[in-house]
Symmetry: C2
Subunit: 774 residues, 2 copies
């Protein structure tokens, strides 16, 4: 890994002598994680705890005629059974985000209708998981089957079965998202040539290692304590409170460590409401933990998409018109469909400059499992199309695709998808830097004769460009909060609502506080994951934790530092401006031998009472964009069709790097996940019945560590953003967006076959080679 300091300075003061930020300090949670001592939600055991299980429909679309739970209720060890007949009937969003978007509440806790194969129709609490499971079989459900629809195109047809009776009409999840800029028709008229293509994306699943799990416990004051593996604890609190009819003071959501989420753990899930209600009914704690099968069926996958893209080019490579229609498949409920459609559609205004743009994004219900938020949130799909078509245009122009991309990538001042001007030339710098590092010109001109020992192997290189916003979501309350307090011994406690997905966010936040305040990293303790006590937080998603909460934490630390200096000044009888704070010591700048510890500054002395130093930071962010270009080498085996990614040189601009190894880990992890999505992963739903065909890690193929290519991560602090702490920006989502098109472009480079879809399976490769006559 290589971190390069800023090539461009922005108009904010850059600190020159970082002590903690920019260093890969030891993450506090590593030891407990490798020893297995870290407590995840699934590790929580409460006295008298029951286990809940959900009965899932084996039909994709149906009306429930009757449910007979008498046998299940009579089964020894069963404590409660819930059906649509005895749970509150409250329409809700399921997902916290689309509230301010044009979307509709479309979920019930349990409905008298089934909208996808695997949807929960009843829930049981029993003294063991086994008994609960056995009781599910004793519940008798009589269905009236309804015609079902499994593809968004079919769902959009007139006369298609209606999945919901709420919403904007037909099977639309939200009104089509339309973006118009410039004059597209005039642009096409100007074009020297036009490219038109359709693209499609499968249904990759985040397949986080920790299954969804929650525990509900009501106390004697009717307050619900709710442990759950969620990225958005405050949002879950809000939805639970609303649906269960409780004030927010009566719902406490707890989450400590998480075994991944990747965006998908942002919903308030059906099992979470049911768990809370089973606990209420039985007056005992109830735990519900998904099987791996359920994480697929009842979790959230990426929205499958169909994209039609038409662009006009001049012969000098200028893009003059872009016309794009995106169709996202929401599955049976809205969830993040609105957000994904808005973000994914708007993203297509950018990346490659074009003045005349017309976009239409639509999102449709189908009778398939629910799709939701997932790393890359709509943008993976649209940039896959944009970037591949850019390669095609280069070929048509007889240009090096690198050259065409370099000419067209967005630059400082261009309007970003968020509507804000872009800061810096991050994308251009990443592209140029990577071209130099991989010696692209030489690669392009290399001898392409196959190795005589492995003549069936073809090698290719591809470039994928992307940009992605931190805090760039439309219409939601973007606010970072942090509280910093000083303890009597001079140690510091940071209270943050930011969730610990596993990314090391809390380490980064503690680094920021230690750096700004002037104490040692190990003197900062971080408290998180308890909605009762930490400041409100929007949740960990959108690549924004370091950017958004980091700035709030820095603001709080700035205030605390000033208070500490004021107190020390009073005690040392100097002016606060004459003091400095470093490694937990306040010293007179001119006489470093004259100092006191933070603890001494805090404490009482000479009639000055002990201090209570605590400060809050609240930050309403601007929008910020990170950039990445991936240079990827593949081997395509023309005999088996297997594509092997051999080497990736990811070049990222993420502003100031807080923790280099954590940032590198995000990039490597994103590449691994992106390789899977591009080549092997697809959660397949049978198009006749709606049944899941590979809901498990045996049949759903994720790349393992041994499938990983060489990755030479390069992080450029190219375009720091003044909105982030010392210019830091997000990094979580970028790598998964750039890797896909780079692979597809590399495959073309290797075998001359252009794929417009993912995953590109060996069967696809072999079929395409056959069709090409090879």
């Amino acid at each position: 890994m290589n971190v390069t300091t800023p090539v461009e300075k922005r108009d904010f003061k850059e600190k020159s002598d970082f002590k903690i930020v920019g260093k890969s300090v030891k993450r506090e949670d590593v030891v407990e994680k490798v020893t297995g001592e870290a407590e995840y939600t699934g590790d929580v055991k409460l006295p008298g705890m029951l286990h809940g299980k959900i009965k899932r429909a084996a039909i994709a679309h149906a009306r429930i005629k009757s449910i007979d739970v008498s046998k299940a209720l009579a089964y020894p060890g069963v404590k409660a059974v819930l059906t649509h007949e005895n749970v509150p009937r409250v329409l809700h969003y399921g997902s916290p985000h689309p509230r301010s978007a044009s979307c509709t509440k479309d979920q019930y806790i349990l409905d008298n209708k089934v909208r996808f194969w695997g949807e929960g129709v009843a829930a049981v609490a029993a003294i063991s998981e086994e008994i609960a499971d056995e009781a599910l079989d004793l519940i008798e459900v009589e269905y009236e089957a309804l015609p079902a629809v499994f593809e968004p195109e079919d769902a959009a047809l007139p006369g298609a079965p209606l999945i919901h009776d709420v919403g904007p009409g037909g099977n639309l999840v939200l009104d089509p998202v339309r973006v118009n800029r410039g004059d597209v028709e005039a642009g096409f008229a100007e074009a020297d040539f036009i490219l038109e293509g359709t693209f499609s994306g499968g249904r990759p699943h985040p397949a986080y290692m920790e299954p969804n799990v929650c525990i509900a416990d009501w106390d004697g004051t009717n307050k619900l304590t709710f442990w759950t593996s969620t990225q958005t604890a405050f949002m879950v609190r809000g939805i639970l409170a609303e649906v269960l009819g409780l004030p927010l003071t009566k719902v406490r959501v707890l989450v400590d460590h998480m075994g991944g989420g990747f965006g998908a753990k942002q919903d308030c899930f059906q099992h979470e409401f049911l768990c809370a209600l089973l606990a209420k009914e039985t007056r005992r704690p109830v735990k519900m933990e998904f099987t791996r099968h359920e994480t697929f069926v009842a979790g959230r996958a990426r929205h499958p998409c169909r994209i039609w893209l038409k662009q006009g080019f001049k012969n000098d490579g200028t893009l003059v018109a872009r016309d794009m229609k995106l169709v996202y498949d929401s599955g049976a409920y809205g969830s993040h469909g609105p957000g994904v459609t808005i973000v994914g559609t708007n993203a297509a205004t950018s990346l490659y400059r074009c003045e005349n743009v017309r976009l239409e994004g639509r999102c449709l219900y189908t009778n398939t499992p629910i799709n939701g938020a997932f790393r890359g949130y709509g943008v993976v799909q649209s940039y896959y199309a944009l970037d591949i078509q850019m390669d095609e245009a280069a070929e048509r122009l007889g240009m090096d695709p690198a050259e065409l991309k370099l000419k067209n990538v967005v630059r400082e001042g261009d309007i970003a998808p968020s509507g804000h001007p872009i800061l810096g030339h991050g994308l251009e710098i990443c592209l140029q830097h990577g071209l130099d590092v991989v010696d692209w010109k030489k690669l392009r001109g290399r001898d392409r004769t196959p190795d005589s020992k492995r003549p069936h192997i073809r090698k290719g290189w591809g470039i994928g460009c992307e940009m992605h916003g931190s805090s760039a979501y439309p219409g939601i309350k973007e606010q970072g909060n942090a509280t910093v307090k000083v303890n009597e011994d001079g140690t510091v406690t940071l209270l943050t609502g930011a969730a610990g997905l596993g990314t090391g966010a809390h380490t980064a936040l503690a680094q920021i506080v230690a750096e700004e305040l002037g104490v040692r990293f190990e003197d900062v303790g971080t408290i998180h994951g308890d909605t009762d006590v930490v400041p409100w937080d929007i949740g960990a998603f959108a690549s924004h934790t370091t950017y958004l909460v980091g700035t709030a934490a820095k603001m709080a630390a700035t205030k605390v530092r000033a208070e500490v200096l004021d107190r020390a000044a009073m005690k040392l009888q100097v002016k606060a401006e004459e003091l400095d704070l470093s490694e937990g010591k306040v010293f007179v700048s001119a006489e470093p031998g004259r100092f006191m510890t933070v603890a001494e500054a805090m404490g009482p002395s000479r009639g000055i009472p002990a201090a209570n130093i605590v400060a809050n930071g609240t930050y309403e962010p601007t929008k910020s964009y990170s950039f990445a270009v991936h240079f990827t080498e593949v081997d395509v085996d023309t005999e088996t069709g297997i594509v092997e990614v051999k080497r990736v040189v990811p070049v990222h601009d993420i502003g100031k790097v807080i923790h280099p190894i954590a940032a590198q880990g995000q990039i490597e992890g994103g590449i691994q996940q992106g390789i899977g999505h591009t080549l092997t992963e697809d959660y397949v739903i049978d198009k006749k019945t709606g049944r899941s065909l590979n809901a498990g890690l045996v049949d759903y193929k994720m790349p393992l560590s041994m499938d990983m290519p060489d990755i030479e991560t390069i992080i450029l602090e190219a375009a720091p953003d003044p909105g982030g702490p010392w210019g830091a920006k997000g990094v979580g989502e970028d790598p998964i967006i750039a890797i896909g098109p780079s692979i597809s472009n590399a495959i073309y480079d290797a075998i001359g076959v252009r794929f417009h879809h993912y995953p590109i399976t060996p069967e696809d490769v072999l079929k395409a080679l056959r069709e090409k006559g090879q």
Copy 2:
């Protein structure tokens, strides 16, 4: 009960239209407490939890020659055994308070010496309580007996066995506390007569219903989470951190509900260190719960005392000199001995006015169980002597004791024991008001002929006066803190470090926040009992929670209110001064129909982003005094010697009353406890061996509900203190101080026998009557 509004107005703005404060709102914890759902420390169960037990010495003073734990360690189910040989050897205070007083660290976790019968010498962790108990018997300890001393007078003799080799010398716990005011010799010279007497107090035990209990759990980051039944969670955190060598960020102390403490749960106890160390050793959670026997032997009782009191009076009733020597028995360790000696000695400067005062308080180690903080903290003892001698003086003068007391009670501007001027004529008003209510003159002049049906019953009335300070402890960091935040739905969360002893403190604090902020009482949720997250707190003791933390909570609520009004003003497009806030609605004062809810004011609208409203209040208090006079009627059975308290009219001045029923509960509970201490309760130590003779509720006689007299509580808001919220002062300790002398004085009124000690047992009464020749 009768609450009377202020008879005196002080120089602060009094609110006239209270909506929540002053009302007996329903305490949030009542339902869970009566249903048994409230979670106390003893209810906490953790997976894999071990149980710890302590081996206690059956000798009062000895050196440990050897300990053999091999059999215990080999016993199946035993996981760890600790002795002085394998625990850190760090001297500590045990009690958090005396740090700034003239006292000495005198405790080890485990020492190679035993200083009282029952002291812990080893600890075992095992998979069940039974196995741990059995293993204790397998530990073989060889002692070298040392000469022991059981009375403070003996401990003070030259050549007495030395219990500690630290401290100011001899068996003194701290240097004698000396107070001199005026010229005592001159005063005595002026006196028309002098009274001299010795007084003594037994060893009453708080006997809280919830035994001491704690659970220790270390996580994978070596952070200690520690549930314990304590009044002073932050102090326990500090001592544990110091003794175990941890930063404060690595110790989290949790306490939810408590089943009483009455002051005695302010120490950091031997079992608490041992529990933490057993958990560290075994890497499993460990619980330690006292038996009832252990709450006596290893808990904390009130300091037994010997008081010599000599006072000079003029014939008009003027007090001209007071000479007093107090000796407190600390037991084997210092604990709160220094604080009790300082507070109890200084208290004797006041109550009844006297210009010439000479006091000497001493506190001595003895080889008996440790005495500590207990409701009334040293003052119970000194005012028992002062008030009884006042009755004696009245008799000598041929005056009504009420008249003499009324003449001499402290008044506005007199110097309080804290050194601050007293605010208001609270004590005088209480006394006068009570005299009127009970029709004292008529009582005094009544026919005293015994009832012919019960000729062995003699009736008597007595008066006891007292005053007691909130936040009046010497030399410790008195600071109240509170955080108030507003949730998205307009409900409010109060974070406070104040412990919930069972007094209803959290209800009172929530009332204060609701009243000040302008929301409904039920909209305020209170978070407490977690040192990681709530603001620093000194602990719940010294009758100061409502006064100290209440003011901090009010300060925080004031800030939050202003922020809410500012936001509403922006949205309603009026000035904040034109708005009012009531029941969670902000309305234009002049047009009450024009309003928005707090939630609406908080939320985003018209380009104004959502707010994060949170504020902290920190309060460094002044000193405040509450006052009480108890009027008590007793029946003395001259055949059995049994004294029955028939009726008590307690008249208290506690400033503004926040929750009348809770205040009344405190008063009634204090009277019950005080009756026990005065008549039946005494924890008896054998003076030959140091063994406890009645360490259990069968032999230690507390009054039951059926023993309770009629109590007609009168609360006067006579002298509100501007330092408390709307003038509120403390009430927790006052009742237990006033009841004792009122009973003793009433017994004298009934049978003409003057008792100078407590408890006054039936045997004492019969013996005294025999001696008197009746």
